[in-house]
């Protein structure tokens, strides 16, 4: 039982990692990127191609893929999100959903229906584990993912709080026009935020590919997991997102003990329960994701 709980907590690290970019982008731009999961899967495929065709280890591959994802984020903001934001509140949802359909189906066209994994490319790391007292074994990879999630979430918070770019991004998210008046290039600030968000998506994609299998249409469920973790945690702070990921993962691992479908049912179920409770407590229209302050 304790073993299950430990595995659940560690899986929560992955959800926190993939939720980090989603809630970061929302807190800065007020956009929920519906292509978030598809972009993570895209990064996983990019690492797979580098590993299979060029023999590059996924860890080295990240040196290529993370800057590429950041560049993609920059371009995404410049050509899609910026324009969508100005066109009205519904357009970003529709545009990013359209983008996710394009990405999913292009991946399917390129790689087919087979499920893939990066596990073969990382050698013993995919199964090596550490023995803890009490006959508990934890996977090195799971612990590593959890640590990366904490670093990413903490790093984002420190970046926003203590750097000039972080201040510029926060000022832009409060009020882009006023930020412009004091000499901040609002478009550049949001483009940088978008680049950072997609770099974290690249990391999440790597974690997804290493710890499990994925296919071209895996993006949708990854988006839902990220959203659920962010909402359960309240997304108000670093620790909220981490806690949200852990709660989601614990519900899933416990649900899986009941039935094979229980993994997903319990995950979605705990999300909806948290949703109902928060709405019931709050009254009125409830913003689920909060802006960082």
């Amino acid at each position: 039982m304790i073993n299950t709980l430990v595995q659940g907590v560690l899986l929560g690290g992955y959800y926190a990692l993939i939720a980090a970019g989603l809630s970061f982008m929302f807190s800065v731009m007020r956009i929920i990127n519906l292509a978030h999961g598809s972009l993570a899967v895209l990064a996983a495929y990019a690492l797979l191609v580098l590993a299979q065709n060029f023999g590059i280890s996924p860890f080295l591959g990240l040196l290529v893929v993370l800057p590429a994802m950041a560049a993609l984020g920059f371009l995404l903001q410049r050509f899609v999100l910026d324009r969508a934001l100005r066109a009205g509140p519904l357009v970003p949802i529709l545009a990013t959903f359209g983008l996710s359909i394009v990405i999913d189906n292009l991946l399917f066209e390129a790689f087919g229906a087979n499920t893939r994994s990066l596990a073969n490319a990382i050698g013993t790391l995919s199964y090596s584990s550490i023995a803890l007292p009490g006959n508990i074994y934890v996977g090195v990879l799971a612990v590593g993912t959890f640590a990366v999630a904490v670093l990413v979430l903490g790093g984002l918070q420190l970046f926003l709080s203590f750097t000039a770019y972080g201040r510029a991004i926060r000022a832009t998210s409060e009020d882009p026009d006023t930020a412009g008046l004091v000499g901040i290039d609002a478009r550049l600030a949001t483009a940088i935020a978008s680049a950072i968000a997609l770099a974290t998506v690249g990391l999440a994609g790597a974690a997804l590919g290493m710890r499990a299998t994925f296919d071209a249409y895996a993006g949708g469920s990854q988006l839902l997991f990220a959203f659920e973790a962010a909402v359960i945690g309240g997304a108000g702070s670093v620790w909220g997102t981490l806690l949200g990921g852990i709660v989601l993962a614990l519900a899933q691992t416990l649900g899986a003990k009941v039935s094979p479908l229980g993994f997903l049912i319990a995950g979605h179920g705990v999300f909806l329960v948290v949703l109902f409770v928060r709405i019931w407590l709050a009254g009125g229209v409830t913003p689920l994701l909060r802006r960082r302050t």
Partner: protein
């Protein structure tokens, strides 16, 4: 004609009178069509009617109530599932289809309480989660046998030609009913409230529009229509596979039809459905590239032509085929002279 001030408020124009006449004529032709059409053509037309229902319902939700849902497959799948379930319990399959629409609407009503508290993208993904959960729960029903699915065997008891005709007429009736109902709703006092919400939610609330209950009405109506569409789709496809019916692709289709046709215009959604039907007929066989094209087109329309083709036509020419709103005619006004 207002003689003192010299402007007039129009609801009916000559274009809209002609359109309504043509629509009624088309309807008569459509009702009689089974007398002259082959089996293949009737199946295709049934599919077109389902698309029109889906587009009109998604348009009502997004275009008028400002609610972008990515989870409408929830109601589509539930409509089909309820039909299978009711037929399994011995209900006449055609009655089961109608009843399923009502059941889906009854499910949507309590669901609207939490969901309508969500905003923008949160509502969109919240609905998707609800759809996924319903998909998984339906999988647990032994009747469905997991992803293997089950068939609407009860329909086999009917003569195939009769069955095809009845499904066709049911689809026609469902489409006419949902479009007609929506049309009357939009012209009513409630319709003025709905269009006010579409244009500006805060302003509508400030002049006394009850925004939450108006949105709830549309949410439930859209659930009913989409549920009925799911039941009709099941009747043409015969097999119920949860994965196929609860697929997010249905919402992608709805978004494509409404975005390309013209979001927030009554005619635009119908136009988009017909366009989608033609595109599917010509390019559907290309499979994945077809889907890439749909997603890409939706993306481009959202960014560059957010009012869709019909919205652009309407703005440029002032053409209104169906008298949903009012027009202010200043041509004869003394004020302008």
């Amino acid at each position: 004609m207002n003689a003192q001030t010299g402007f007039r408020i129009q609801r009916w124009t000559s274009a809209s009178r002609a359109t309504v006449a043509v629509v009624l004529l088309l309807l008569v032709v459509a009702v009689l069509a089974p007398l002259g059409l082959g089996a293949g053509a009737m199946d295709r037309l049934t599919i077109l009617f389902v698309y029109v229902i889906l587009a009109a319902m998604w348009n009502a939700l997004a275009g008028y109530a400002g609610l972008v849902s990515v989870g409408q497959q929830l109601f589509f799948g539930l409509g089909a599932y309820c039909t299978v379930k009711l037929a399994d319990w011995g209900v006449n399959p055609f009655a089961a289809m109608l009843l399923s629409g009502v059941i889906v609407a009854a499910i949507a009503l309590p669901l609207s309480l939490p969901m309508l508290r969500l905003r923008g993208g949160e509502f969109a993904i919240g609905m998707w989660v609800a759809a996924e959960l319903a998909h998984l729960l339906v999988n647990l029903d032994p009747l469905v046998r997991g992803e293997t699915g089950t068939s609407l065997l009860a329909l086999n008891a009917f003569d195939p030609a009769l069955r095809r005709n009845v499904i066709y007429w049911l689809a026609l009736a469902a489409m006419t009913g949902s479009l007609g109902g929506l049309f009357l709703l939009l012209r009513s006092r409630m319709g003025a409230a709905i269009q006010a919400i579409r244009d500006n939610e805060e302003a509508a609330a400030s002049v006394g529009v009850d925004v939450p209950s108006t949105k709830r009405l549309i949410f439930v109506l859209a659930a009913f229509g989409v549920g009925l569409a799911g039941a009709l789709w099941l009747a043409t496809a015969l097999t119920f596979q949860p994965r196929a019916f609860f697929s997010v692709q249905w919402t992608a289709y709805m978004i494509f039809m409404v975005l390309v046709g013209g979001i927030g215009t009554f005619e635009g959604a119908i136009f988009g459905a017909v366009l989608f039907f033609l595109i599917e007929t010509w390019f559907g066989a290309t499979g994945v590239w077809y889907l890439v094209g749909l997603g890409g087109t939706a993306l481009i329309f959202a960014l560059l032509l957010p009012r869709g083709i019909w919205g652009a036509i309407e703005r440029r020419t002032g053409l209104r085929l169906l008298p949903v709103g009012y027009r202010l005619d200043l041509k004869s006004s003394e004020l302008l002279k």
